[in-house]
Symmetry: C2
Subunit: 252 residues, 2 copies
Amino acid sequence: MTTDRIYTAALCVIGDEILSGRTQDKNISQIALWLNLQGIRLREVRVVPDVEDAIVEAVNQLRARNDYLFTTGGIGPTHDDITVDAIAKALGVGVVHHPEASAMLHKYYENRGGATEARMRMARVPDGADLIPNRMSGAPGIRHGNIFIMAGVPSITAGMLDALTGTLEGGAPLLSDTVGCWVAESEIADMLGSIEQAHEGCQIGSYPFFREGRTGSNFVIRSTDAEKLAACADALAAALDAMGRPAIRGAI
Amino acid sequence: MTTDRIYTAALCVIGDEILSGRTQDKNISQIALWLNLQGIRLREVRVVPDVEDAIVEAVNQLRARNDYLFTTGGIGPTHDDITVDAIAKALGVGVVHHPEASAMLHKYYENRGGATEARMRMARVPDGADLIPNRMSGAPGIRHGNIFIMAGVPSITAGMLDALTGTLEGGAPLLSDTVGCWVAESEIADMLGSIEQAHEGCQIGSYPFFREGRTGSNFVIRSTDAEKLAACADALAAALDAMGRPAIRGAI
């Protein structure tokens, strides 16, 4: 059975290190690509500081209007890790030590210097939460309703996404195809708009670049329908060829 | 004269290509680092799709509660470039062709195939706007009140930031210093919190990593006061040394 319902997700990236420019975020694209494969569209992203009010506001707005909300960052053992407390506040629930998480951490730190009080902070979850396994380190991610609370370190986030693969309900995945061309997008802007209008259910994005002294563009066609996608890409390639601007299938 | 007032900025990244994961955003860190140098703090970021309502909502929320709002993306010549129209709608003003921008584009395209209607779309601005020069290509950025509308292509954004350097009112720049250590952050979490509490006006961020089989952390201290910053970094380094975990000045 196919469904036309579009499943959406939001991402809230929590961390001063992104807003200061110190750290280049890698979770937005990683999570976006993973969501596409689950048939879920990343609809909006917010980056907020390690400030409780900012996290509460973003979490409550985003969880209410999307099927899923992912957060990254702020779930470590140090004083600046306030994500769990802030999300509990947003949900109006208390913070508890999750017994399974406590057991995992005790086991993980058994031969690594012991489960100190600081380390056991990583067993704290908003009341009512489940765990997301994390094969990279001792501390798990957290799921509460439609909120998925993940690590900030991209390799650990990747492990948590892996654990969630196939467990979330999604719709038809958004397919994409790319047609490249050594042409300035401004030269073919009208044609591009007409082709998109003539192919319902397809969106064309235009991504210009300047490389090795030449101007080019990649045109990305997106649709949930494979046949419509192919027809639109073919029509675009034919139109470019007809203008004497040979189309290249795939990104340049 | 020094001032304690903190100047804040928000960034709205506009573009389906970021939300689809196709393109790795580079403007967040670029703009964050540039803002730091202007004495302005990037307080929040939103990534929104090429959808008018989403842009209008983000622009109106962000411009109202920050000194400055920057946007990137969606100002090219193609049908998916809707940023100018959306921001005009958010501001409740019309869209006009800016005479200087028109002249720039006519000149730029004189020997590049002519100023077609599609290309002249890039002269459209929300009524009342000024231009931000762009030395990379013909199309300028746009300033309207406290909103700065910039290109999505990072190298073009960089040229526009360059043109704005020194023109915005800011406060004391946020200074930072980094102390690295081959220690798990969980081992020293309590000490870290105490050191921060003992140094008013300083924040300590903890950024753990796992490299070449070893666990380490970088501790980033931030303050607008150089003396307080140095005292906090010194105290942290001394505390690490005292725990038999030699501090390394600067990031590992």
